[in-house]
Assembly symmetry: C2
Homo-oligomer: 258 residues x 2
Amino acid sequence: MGEVVAILNQKGGCGKTTTAVNLAAALALMGKQILVIDLDPQGNATTAFGIEKNEVDKTIYTVLTGQDTMEEALLSTEISGLHLVPSNISLSGAEIELSKEVGYHTILDLSIDDIKEYYDYIFIDVPPSLGILTINSLMAADSVLIPIQAEFYALEGMADLMEAMELVETRLKSPSPIKGILLTLYDGRTRLGRDVYRNIKEYFGEREYVFKTVIPRNITLAEAPSHGMPCVIYDEESTGTEAYKKLAREFIQLEDNK
Amino acid sequence: MGEVVAILNQKGGCGKTTTAVNLAAALALMGKQILVIDLDPQGNATTAFGIEKNEVDKTIYTVLTGQDTMEEALLSTEISGLHLVPSNISLSGAEIELSKEVGYHTILDLSIDDIKEYYDYIFIDVPPSLGILTINSLMAADSVLIPIQAEFYALEGMADLMEAMELVETRLKSPSPIKGILLTLYDGRTRLGRDVYRNIKEYFGEREYVFKTVIPRNITLAEAPSHGMPCVIYDEESTGTEAYKKLAREFIQLEDNK
Ligand SMILES: Nc1ncnc2c1ncn2[C@@H]1O[C@H](COP(=O)(O)OP(=O)(O)OP(=O)(O)O)[C@@H](O)[C@H]1O
Ligand SMILES: Nc1ncnc2c1ncn2[C@@H]1O[C@H](COP(=O)(O)OP(=O)(O)OP(=O)(O)O)[C@@H](O)[C@H]1O
Ligand SMILES: [Mg+2]
Ligand SMILES: [Mg+2]
């Protein structure tokens, strides 16, 4: 039965989409059946898989508003075993529209139910906010992966994120344990990078798992989206690819240790 | 009469806060009277000026919900001539709360009216989304400054941003001309950086102004927030400081040329 993993952090630009896309692709290359749900109106995950976001007519927006099922909206990608539910700017009106529905925070969770059994993992790429789309992703998720950039603002936002997750857990009775904290865009040559990394390990301490794999800043990861494919496909030799493949192995390892 | 400038781009992590904070500070050092409104629930601009965001009780949230006026909520900072209206996570509930009010998109615009005359410039730091807070900032703004990172996803988001601005202009009759497009986090050594920069200039062509000042990637800009002060105060010699001071001069120049 597929595990739903939300990739989230309200801080913008910390590598959520890059992680959702490349971790999903690396796991698919290992033979896992994977679904990626693009829950961001920016539609970056959709573009990263080479899909023209403004030409699709069934998206996560039409699923959340009840026009299509998840099964109807999902698309296959160039990568065998990896499907995507696309998104585009039409989703940006959803927060207000959904807020008028009774029980609006479980809409995504319910729509995933029909297709969960077909996948080993379902990854949700979440927009940079703590609004309704993020709450929906927390309700639907079995676990959460938190990418964090080794910079000051990113560390500062952790307390707000933990609080929002705590609220969803206590008020909406839907705990989403943290699968792991992933350090991204890491540049070990800077004192800031090293300092924040040390702070992150201290902040989470024994309470949460911090992935041993660290994703370095690597230009190929930023170039791959313009070629419409994940970096792990675009350039097998790059250090970005190696890091996400290593993360995929560690991710699987966590499962085995359970 | 103060000009209201919204610093916005729905793409996360492209230097909105860093630009709002350092451009505002550089203009204050030139003797201008400046107000910064932190409209992001993350409260990064508040922290950047050394204010403990969770200890203030009057914020932009209490202003937008009618509990306080802008005048009551504004704080002075260490920089003479620069005031701040702080923000914190309490703002993240505002989007849904505001959406229930009639004429919710003009709430910020109306609350700025009483204090506009005391300042030369009022900068709004906008969260990474195209939701109600962003619409409010577009309604209140006399002009818009768009920071854009020289990366693929950032370029891809431009069409959505232009469309949202077009909608506010035609449907809500509140045009916000683009003051300029600012290239941030620029690394000219990478082909991606150079390619995207060229694309940005072609995309905007003669239609919009692209600032001649380019903000390079510079570690001091990322370190300054952890010391609670803008980089232009924290380290006068850094290339980040020089770039924002140059931007401030170009910004003033634009005014003079009008
Ligand atoms: N390890 C890395 N090395 C170099 N560039 C990276 C890396 N990870 C991400 N990037 C680039 O940094 C930018 C931000 O990453 P990304 O868009 O994945 O973050 P995000 O958290 O999804 O952003 P948003 O908050 O807007 O959704 C993108 O241009 C991406 O290509
Ligand atoms: N020119 C620069 N050189 C180096 N680091 C920078 C530069 N500009 C911004 N940064 C750092 O990059 C990160 C993103 O910048 P910032 O937070 O200002 O972007 P933002 O657009 O406001 O993000 P958000 O979308 O989350 O509001 C921050 O950690 C900041 O310190
Ligand atoms: Mg993203
Ligand atoms: Mg910001």
